[in-house]
Symmetry: C2
Subunit: 88 residues, 2 copies
Amino acid sequence: MESLIRVFHTYSCKEGDMYKLSNAELKSLLQEQLGDFLAASNDPMCVEKIMNDLDENHDGEVDFKEFVLLVATLTVACNDFFEGYSQN
Amino acid sequence: MESLIRVFHTYSCKEGDMYKLSNAELKSLLQEQLGDFLAASNDPMCVEKIMNDLDENHDGEVDFKEFVLLVATLTVACNDFFEGYSQN
């Protein structure tokens, strides 16, 4: 929990609203912190798709709650994958 | 994400369904991994309340998705607290 909060604010305070991620901040965070995960995807538009999904009101900003929802969704997807893998 | 998955399965495989937390497993996990957090609460019924909230169908088992939802909710609450604290 602590590391999620720390990572979010390390990026969110770089420009604009210190408590929200701009498109550029979100892109840096995803590429630097989830680089391996994104590299495993064959979709070059992956980062852009994530940004569009998260930024529901299209103001170019993502708040902490939306960010945690992304991480929670990715974590459940990873777990489903590993449970399926170990059951086969 | 990796540590959430690892912590969950370390406890969930101890007894019964290996992919779900029994009441006893959830209690150990909360006390051993979130001990400081629970100690800061003055409510001695805190663990029991969390168990009841998570175990919606009262089968005594909590799956990974429900567990991640708890962690996400706690993380957002912590962040709101720190943002409020730094704004004052």
